[in-house]
């Protein structure tokens, strides 16, 4: 009895701590939206009046919806086939594909944006130059500065995260239904459409909603592509409010804009929660479930490789080439034969000498973030999918809502928490606070990934265990955790990669003693040291890739999920 209580207490305790962390940013946003500029606590409704009363608000909101929707469409166009190819076919080189997906996560978005600005800008973009469409009087053929390109590039860079979110659901899906369909003469295409996609519906819907919120919050592409093209979207308004040229940042207006994102996200999440009430019908992984045999691609193998290769070229090849080029030139200049004479390894040498302490701090932050994301994510997912309580649903919905808080506002909320607690807990300005804030920001991804896998595990496994006298805590450890381990692995990869490159949180929270690699890159770039900044980025990509490959090897993971795990159903 004592063990049972302590097991449950631990799960709920972790879930409550996770909820408290998420509430810091959610309530921080609400409080900010009701405050006068940066004077948190001086209550006003003026921010909402300003936001909603702005005549540009409706068109801006429409563009924001297009930005989010367009990004999700592009992202699914690439990620759904890639996840399916990796999980359900005999495609070769899947390990390499997963490794390259991971590498993409380590590349900051602004690098991808910069690569495409070089290619497609109307003044001296290489595509226009090749077509002879540059020069004072020439009319460019390609012009990157538009909403369509923002959607396309954001969609392309979100592919790895989306694949990692839906891949566990592919792995845990019961294959017997597919095989039954094939045996009954149903075509592969109809099986995919009628069985596989409906079974994956909760995971797909979660991915669509989650990345819709992420897409309208990220700033890299809006800043570098949207701003010069006068593409006004919500994240740009938030940027303006939080980056004043004089006086204090207007966190009040940013908070109100964040509330608009809440409204958009909240509506989507309400639909999702309503949908999940029927989620049990997607639970097919019971005690007797097993995976389906891999589909032979046959003559389609080259088409599959071509598809994945196209994405790799767009998302990884060009940005890596850009990083490499910028690391080798002493100042930012586009590739040309004349520029080849300027190539130097100085950037790599200087980067190596600069990285010591920031790298140690970054690895520490990554480790804490990953650990917290996994502990909180697993606990929250169990409560949300297994407890069948209203609290579980609310908990899940609130955590799902958290990415809607603008990064800058979330950073300020954690900063204020650190200041408020500084007399009792020395968190203010420390890497611990940065790691907690990062884990909180990443928690929604962790829970989406684990939930997607957890919804496919039939509760009959738990019920059988409880009926046999197994405690809930033990069922959590012996049934739930092993079943969602692939999901936890991908959540860990995502948390590690994203915490390594996150800039806003450390930039805002660090008080001078917790410099990270991302802030080092920021400082180098601010100083015009583009070469060393790019070289640091490349070192980090190699290091992170090595870490992920080592983790895969040590943990016995493969592109099929867990190779060393027992066959499904054995635990039950």
């Amino acid at each position: 009895m004592r063990l049972r209580l302590s097991g449950l207490s631990l799960i709920y305790g972790l879930a409550l701590i996770a909820l408290a962390s998420v509430l810091v940013s959610l309530l921080g946003n609400i409080l900010a939206s009701l405050s006068v500029e940066s004077e948190i606590g001086r209550v006003t409704l003026h921010n909402f009046a300003r936001l909603l009363g702005d005549p540009d608000f409706p068109p801006m909101l429409c563009r924001t919806l297009i930005q989010g929707g367009g990004t999700v469409v592009v992202m699914l166009f690439f990620s759904l086939p890639i996840a399916w190819l990796v999980a359900r076919t005999d495609m070769r080189g899947k390990g390499m594909i997963v490794a390259l997906l991971t590498a993409k996560l380590a590349i900051p978005g602004f690098i991808t944006a910069m690569a495409y600005v070089w290619l497609l800008n109307p003044n001296n973009g290489m595509v226009n130059a090749l077509l002879g469409r540059t020069g004072i009087d020439a009319t460019p053929l390609a012009n990157i500065y538009g909403l369509g390109w923002i959607c396309f590039l954001q969609g392309v860079v979100l592919v790895p995260a989306c694949v990692f979110l839906i891949l566990p659901a592919f792995f845990t899906m019961d294959g017997t239904l597919e095989e039954a369909a094939w045996v009954s003469g149903v075509t592969r295409w109809r099986t995919l459409r009628g069985i596989v996609i409906p079974l994956l519906a909760p995971a797909l819907l979660a991915a669509m909603l989650f990345f819709f919120v992420v897409a309208i919050e990220v700033f890299d592409f809006v800043g570098l592509i949207g701003m010069p093209g006068h593409v006004e979207v919500l994240s740009l308004w938030i940027y303006d409010a939080t980056h004043p040229v004089v006086g204090l940042p207007d966190y009040g207006f940013a908070g109100a804009a964040g509330m608009a994102m809440f409204a958009l996200s909240g509506t989507a999440i309400a639909c999702y929660v309503h949908y999940l009430k029927r989620a049990r019908r997607f639970a097919v992984l019971g005690g007797k479930a097993r995976q389906v045999d891999l589909l032979e691609l046959g003559k389609w193998r080259w088409a599959a490789h071509g598809f994945v290769g196209t994405w790799l070229l767009i998302a990884l090849g060009l940005p890596i080439a850009t990083l490499l080029w910028t690391a080798l030139v002493p100042f930012l200049e586009p590739p040309s034969t004349a520029a080849l004479a300027h190539l130097t390894l100085n950037g790599f040498v200087f980067a190596f000498t600069y990285m010591g302490k920031p790298l140690v701090n970054t690895l520490l932050v990554m480790a804490i973030s990953v650990l917290l994301t996994l502990l909180w994510g697993a606990s929250v997912s169990w409560v949300a999918t297994r407890s069948r309580s209203r609290f579980g649903q609310w908990l899940d919905a609130l955590i799902f809502l958290s990415p809607a808080v603008p990064s800058m506002v979330a950073a300020v909320a954690f900063q204020m928490m650190g200041i408020a607690l500084h007399r009792w807990i020395p968190l203010y300005g420390s890497i611990w606070l940065i790691a907690i804030a990062m884990a909180t920001r990443l928690l929604a991804f962790g829970t989406r990934t684990v939930n997607a896998a957890a919804f496919q595990i039939n509760p009959e496994l738990d019920e059988a265990a409880y009926a046999s006298g197994v405690s809930r805590g033990k069922a959590f450890r012996r049934i739930f955790l092993p079943m969602v381990t692939p999901a936890l692995f991908y959540a860990a990869i995502m948390a590690g990669m994203l915490s390594a490159r996150e800039l806003t949180l450390p930039l805002m929270i660090d008080t001078g003693h917790a410099s990270l690699v991302s802030t080092l890159i920021f400082n180098l770039q601010t100083n015009g040291n583009v070469g060393p900044a790019s070289a640091v980025g490349l070192y980090m990509i190699v290091l992170l890739l090595a870490l992920v490959l080592a983790a895969r090897w040590l943990g016995g993971f493969s592109e099929r999920g867990i190779t060393s795990a027992p066959p499904r159903g054995e635990e039950a």
Partner: protein
């Protein structure tokens, strides 16, 4: 590899030159030449651990090391400057809110322009220390009543790509930026209306507003997120003209950019402000005195390409030769700038 060796040598020469300056400064023997008020700070600074936390400019580790070597040689004792830089308005907001909640700033010196310092002054976070009177400095170094002017910012500066424009095609006045129709779509500027408000101080509000209207209208100028973005994209040749930036450090790396010879030369002073809750006030004051001295100014210029316009043998001084130099005053930055920001933001289409 030849170029690599050449750049290493160039860097080594720069450091050697800086060290030579330090040697000329006299190292430890220099302490005897210090004004009594400054020399009296050394024992206090030693009691503080000879460390100061300076927030202001973003420097890489090599630059910070060069600063530390220079100031240590100047005073003859090993001084460690913890230099950090990030987003100034956000840092100011953090300090103001933190002070209300009883948190210490953790800083000794805030090195920034008056526009930000004004916010800190209003929140009573700046120590009432008159640097000029205390150390007997040139009154021109006084910024407001509590600041010590360390360098003159170039936020109203204009750069051009030397591969796209010949020196005689470079703009020579602010209005001439919009006179050339061939520059249509070729001008980049940061999302910062203050650039034009600083210009307005020198050329008048109406002329500056007209400039923005022309840039946003017929000239189809592109707005970029940050100042480094503007500099980088002029370097890369995407844009011919960049507003709000300086070309010094980029030129040192060999980039094809130069400062446009705009007359008047409009500069925005940046000053050292001693924090009221400084834990190392003596070391912070030593930093200010050193950075303001000829030796400190030379280090600032050699290491980061910044200095006061009056510091001799700098590109900034050369740019200002035979031109009208306008320093945007403290009161204008604190009082007028905030009032004009909404006006110019609207003209730029910002929110």
């Amino acid at each position: 590899m030849g170029r690599f060796r050449e750049e290493c040598m160039s860097r080594a020469r720069a450091i050697a030159a800086a060290l030579l300056v330090l040697a000329v400064a006299g190292g430890g023997a220099r302490a005897a030449d210090l004004p009594p008020a400054v020399a009296a700070l050394l024992p206090q600074a030693k009691a503080e651990g000879l460390t100061a936390n300076i927030f202001g400019i973003s420097l890489d580790p090599a630059q910070i090391a060069a600063f530390n070597k220079s100031i240590s040689a100047f005073y003859g004792v090993p001084i460690t400057l913890n230099m950090t830089g990030s987003l100034h308005p956000q840092k100011a907001a953090e300090l103001v809110q933190g002070a209300k909640m009883g948190a210490e700033s953790g800083l000794d010196i805030f090195w920034t322009a008056s526009a930000i310092a004004g916010t800190l002054e209003k929140a009573d976070l700046i120590a009432p220390f008159d640097w000029v009177s205390a150390f007997g400095l040139d009154p021109a170094f006084r910024e407001g009543t509590k600041g010590l002017r360390l360098h003159d910012g170039t936020l109203a500066g204009v750069i051009y790509n030397t591969q796209l424009l010949k020196p005689d095609q470079a703009p020579k006045s602010y209005p001439s930026i919009v006179d050339n129709p061939k520059l249509k779509g070729r001008i980049a500027m940061p999302r910062a209306p203050n650039v034009f408000i600083f210009m307005a101080y020198a050329i008048g509000d109406a002329a500056a507003q007209n400039l923005v209207k022309q840039l946003m209208g017929p000239q189809q100028a592109r707005i970029l997120p940050t100042y480094p973005d503007v500099q980088n994209r002029v370097m890369s040749g995407e844009f011919a003209i960049g507003l709000g930036v300086d070309s010094t450090m980029a030129r040192r790396r060999g980039a094809p950019v130069a400062n446009a010879p705009i007359d008047p030369v409009v500069l925005t002073p940046w000053a050292a402000w001693l924090m009221k809750d400084a834990k190392h006030p003596a070391t912070g004051k030593l930093f200010g005195y050193w950075a303001s001295s000829p030796q400190g100014q030379r280090t600032l210029w050699d290491v980061d390409g910044i200095a006061r316009v009056t510091t001799p043998d700098t590109d900034l001084a050369k740019l200002a030769e035979k031109k009208k130099v306008v320093l945007v005053p403290h009161d204008y930055m604190v009082e007028t700038l905030p009032k004009l920001v909404p006006v110019y933001s609207r003209l730029m289409g910002l929110h």
